[in-house]
Symmetry: C2
Subunit: 338 residues, 2 copies
Amino acid sequence: MNKWICSLGEDALIDAIARRHSAPHRRLIKGMGDDASVTVQHGGRALLATTDILIEGVHFKKGSTTPYLLGRKSLSVSLSDIAAMGGSPAFHLVSLAMPPRTPKAFVDGLYEGISGCAGEFGSCLAGGNTARLPERIMISTTVFGEMPMDEVVYRSGARPGDVIYVTGALGASALGLLALKTGRARAMSGPYKDAVLKHLDPAPRLAAGRTLARKRLATAMMDISDGLGIDLKRLCEASRVGAEVEIDRIPVPESLMRHASRQGVSAASFAVAGGEDYELLFTASARNAAAIERVSAGLGLGMTAIGRIVAKGKAHAPVFMDGRGARVKMERLGFEHF
Amino acid sequence: MNKWICSLGEDALIDAIARRHSAPHRRLIKGMGDDASVTVQHGGRALLATTDILIEGVHFKKGSTTPYLLGRKSLSVSLSDIAAMGGSPAFHLVSLAMPPRTPKAFVDGLYEGISGCAGEFGSCLAGGNTARLPERIMISTTVFGEMPMDEVVYRSGARPGDVIYVTGALGASALGLLALKTGRARAMSGPYKDAVLKHLDPAPRLAAGRTLARKRLATAMMDISDGLGIDLKRLCEASRVGAEVEIDRIPVPESLMRHASRQGVSAASFAVAGGEDYELLFTASARNAAAIERVSAGLGLGMTAIGRIVAKGKAHAPVFMDGRGARVKMERLGFEHF
């Protein structure tokens, strides 16, 4: 029988989540079930904290994903922020607001996804909250990460002459979102299924971020959540520099190349403005190119030089260029939330 | 001119908040404006973390409060959880989801309230997030607190024979909520204005919680957010004990006494089931009665013995009794979220 959350009650719901998903952990003294979670601090180390919100109809459609994949993604987007500082995740809090007639099975699937993702990347559920939201489901995740203080990589460290890199390939998530308009079942078995999975279950680049930070190879780093165009602009603003990007160098997945040539559209526009790829964008001194290549090969994750940091011109917005050095005007730079 | 959030854009909004509300702090290395906040950990100390959600139409009505008071309350409810462990607040994250046509002035007022409250109680804005939510405003706060590990007071420490205490008086918030049905302006200047202010701007009992923890006077502690009845039941469940409460001993404010006698209703039902008082509920050994009286006098905050912890009977639900020891059946024990 399919139970609704309103027939279960809040305490029974939280108990059920705590029993199933609150695993013991050496430094977690108290997880769910008290006024606050209690963990032990590591003296001198950096504590990272980041929070994200996923809202039904805004960030996801229930019919386009599964509760399990949605749970994974809701944690992954915050883990990606920890990766972007160069840290390791430690604990997370999950708040869930939803209509009273939300099936218990939905909440179960969601937390299975969160736990699955947490187990893979080494985070531990430490608490959270539930509330009633009449129209929509909203998931808010807060992740605490850690790392040595002197290894933290900020957005603000890019210097003129630095090379701009991205991990993996860009534009798959936007292509996946487009493919999902044909329906989930069809999209997940169709020609763009890799892109669909990348959209629904992006992998936070924790190993890459941690390695680049530990080896002090990245001068600035962030994750690409809203689009390369808008996110690189943010990095440039924080570093008070400008950027030149060669659009032909931006790595795009094979499925996006196919889609672009079939439909006669620009693959670069997906890669620059698409957003939600959760790849890392970082800058590095040109003399570290060989070291970055070794890290890339060691992790089996592409790290591609796409351009160069330049002195700030009139504005921080990156300049995009074609293979002959001619400036290309991009219509959109990424996703605007309001 | 009244600006809307959608005409401002997300980056400009976050910049404006960061410029005005992100104060420097010795241990806050990076607050807003990067992928995650960065703070320094204190070796061996407990890190407390708690998160709360306030949703328009569910937890508050825009017409019944002001943006400033709403900002204060959204932080206070999480600070109250830190108080309930015996800790001191350190940092907070604020996430805000709202319709695109939310006036910029609303967001400004909200953050002024959050900052005012944070300044009073010693917390520091470390980051957050914004998102679009078409129908309603939602505020999610996460607070980190700290304290010596061996002083943390859990819900689970109550033992048979312990005395049950509450700080302040109960039922004011529920009376204030009732009074607000006549309209905010009228309610805030009417005969129940104290109760209205307690509902709109509850004070987290941080000094009381910290002192009781430091002096090791409380065996178990939590804050009263959903109602004495339901919250004491939670404390009993966590401690695997039962409780007997003398309803005539529950401290209620003078305004609630007046309302009860005028309307011929039971003041105790407000005090037991009302919720949102954000007073502390704690248990203590009977031999510490004089020490607790001294703490109470020193802080100028009432700490009233209302009953006793007993061995667990058939259930953990507290038993309420009148002055002659006869059992009183309470119709409601508190607020159920679903």
